[in-house]
């Protein structure tokens, strides 16, 4: 028996079978496994009594869920309006150049996901960048290099 499926089954057992708990279930799976393996979809379909395609529809509709394993590092560059007018786009470009990773691309080889988000609601201290869960305020172009060096080592930065 696949251990991914075991884990998912165990999570399902903790939830009632009404469909309203589906999104919570997906959050829990992703929290535990880092992503939502496709094998889990039929299990969820059986538990919540809906078709697997419906589950697939929900997973792909919401931007919080992913069907592939994630990367070791996650850099989130806020592209909210307040960050945008303070140069968030240039910050994104600079990260992309220094790390050699395309914006929004999950680069599994390098283990880096350079991600944009529409607004984190920290608008007074923008531009905001979240590196592996750590919020950083008022980031400028020069900070980007420091962050990149810390993340992948000085020699790897372009």
């Amino acid at each position: 028996m696949n251990s991914l499926e075991d884990k998912a089954e165990k999570l399902l057992q903790t939830l009632p079978s009404q469909r309203q708990h589906l999104i919570l279930f997906l959050h829990l799976v992703q929290q535990e496994l880092g992503f939502i393996p496709e094998e889990v979809l039929p299990l969820a379909a059986r538990h919540f009594s809906v078709s697997p395609s419906e589950i697939f529809g929900v997973v792909t509709f919401y931007s919080a869920f992913r069907l592939k394993p994630g990367c070791q590092h996650e850099i989130v560059v806020c592209q909210g309006t307040a960050c945008h007018v303070r140069g968030a786009e240039a910050i994104m470009d600079e990260f992309s150049r220094l790390l050699g990773v395309k914006p929004s691309e999950e680069n599994l080889q390098k283990g880096i996901w350079l991600k944009s988000v529409n607004c984190l609601g920290c608008c007074a201290i923008g531009p905001v960048v979240v590196v592996d869960g750590q919020y950083q305020a008022k980031v400028n172009i020069k900070d980007v290099e420091k962050i990149a060096e810390k993340l992948i080592g000085k020699n790897e930065v372009k």
Partner: protein
Amino acid sequence: MSPVRFKSIKEVEEYQTSLQLLSDSRRLVSISAASCGRASGALQIASALEKSLKEYGLTDKVILKLTGCHGFCQFEPNVIIFPERFFYPNLRPEQIPQIVEETLLKGKMIPELAFKDRADKKIYLTVDELPFYRKQVRWLLDAHLDLDPTSLDDYLHHDGFKALTLVLTGAIPEEIINLISASGLRGRGGAGFSTGVKWRLARQASADQKYLICNGDEGDPGAYMDRGLLESNPFSVLEGMIIGGYAIGAEKGFVYIRQEYPLAIERMEQAIDQLRAAGFIGKNILGSGFSFDLELVRGAGAFVSGEETALIASIEGRRAFPRQRPPFPVVRGLWDKPTVINNVETWANIPLIIRQGPGWFSRVGTEQSKGTKIFSLVGQVRYTGLVEVPLGITLGEVIYGVGGGLKEGKKIKAVQTGGPSGGCLPASLLNLPVDYESLNQAGSIMGSGGMIVMDEGTCLVDLTLYFLNFASQESCGQCAPCRVGTRQMVRILKKISSGEGELSDLDRLEKLGWTMQKGSLCGLGRTAANPVLSALRYFREEFEAHIVAKECPAMVCKKLIAYEIDPEKCSACELCVKACPYGAIESKTDKIPVINQELCTRCGVCFSTCPPRFSAIRKVSRKSLRQNQNRKSGGN
């Protein structure tokens, strides 16, 4: 956590009296520790304080409290020291021992570390003197200065649940609804529908089950009022919901929070658990016979979930697709039952109205818009943060009175309200009163309360392109006017921004906007064109400049600008040569370096690297650069 489980209203009142009697004469240091504060180092300040208090032997004599958001977000991390309400902005851990010695031990404020207003050069020692705070009416936000958002006891100490006990002491539901109607409270989520009317419709609907929802899916980029409330005072929102449940006859409420707000989710979870343990939710609340329960639902990253019918679909575990209205949720909502959906800030206003009375509430505001409204004042304004002002105040009073005007040497160009559903208003409308109707007439909306101030360095073509990009990504794709319309608008705006637009494109944008307004299924699509339409109404020349003169007057659109080194100002320090990521700046030994326009990507790194004392790198329009070069090569 409150140690008691309350079984009657009397027990709550007695407990509250005992809390008042315990009143503590110790000094209180309140550390602003919502998301912005934490991102700026609030927790490091807290541990530095703890360490320093220990060293001075003050641990038992001073209370440290991690509160929610103090609102002056730009000056995080900051602390307020009570009872004087001394304000220390922008703290660093190494400054803490000095503060402990001078202020906590000797009771003196350190003027050097106090807030210095860069406009009038004055030093302000206390929160109450600061112009930023003084000009607000902080009915909801004031508690954030000294309330521990994780402590039910502290909420009870701040008059918490007095409104609920009043309601449960024999008020009949219709009376509550009359009270809310009389206050004139309107939905704070944007559309401004009367809360009293909404509740009455839900009360009158006959059904075996009714629901309440708190809409905390605050998706507008540039807005964070609801995050502030949820992180700083979750109990007030929940108290409002319990009262709402009693008024309309619902037994279950859902709090929906977007997943991008992890701290708000944590706070809300804690608060709900505490309420259940203390008997404020559950069966037979305080022996009144009224039962009501609350559940937290975490969003999953979709802007459209903020639309009420989409939000209902999301709670039901489906894709967040909006549906046709009517029937409105008050008639057919969650699981087809009558449902009242109100925004976070609306719920937070309810206990206040019950406690103070509708007359007290409605004395502030305009004829049709009563009470206060929280805005997130951000952008190029001198003081950014969460501000609460009376409705009917003018845009100018918010920006200049509270926000201190624009930063040094900057001139206001536009104010954006209402996020991607709102519009850009020009500086000539600074006298416009901030209320639902006035903003609508001017082509924008109140929205949930984002207010972004922009200076001459913002390009309206670039900004509208930004908003339309956002709308097209977030469109759920169900209906063609929104799905195709936003995409076409992005395409046209990109053309204009790169200098390839035609004048007929402007008419095309307006026509598209009209179609989207009339034909879209939900509010997202119907309002998605607002940024474009309002920009065309007030800033048409700027679009025309991109099209006809092929110039971006604000020097933002990359395809239309170039960077140039001013030989008069350059001192050949060559910092820019080293900084340029693309090797586009050629070093000429002992001479002024030159930017190779072929290699330059206009990333702007050189512009921000050049030391301000030189400011030798300037932006010029690409066209004039070409003309200059032609002239030079012609002369040779």
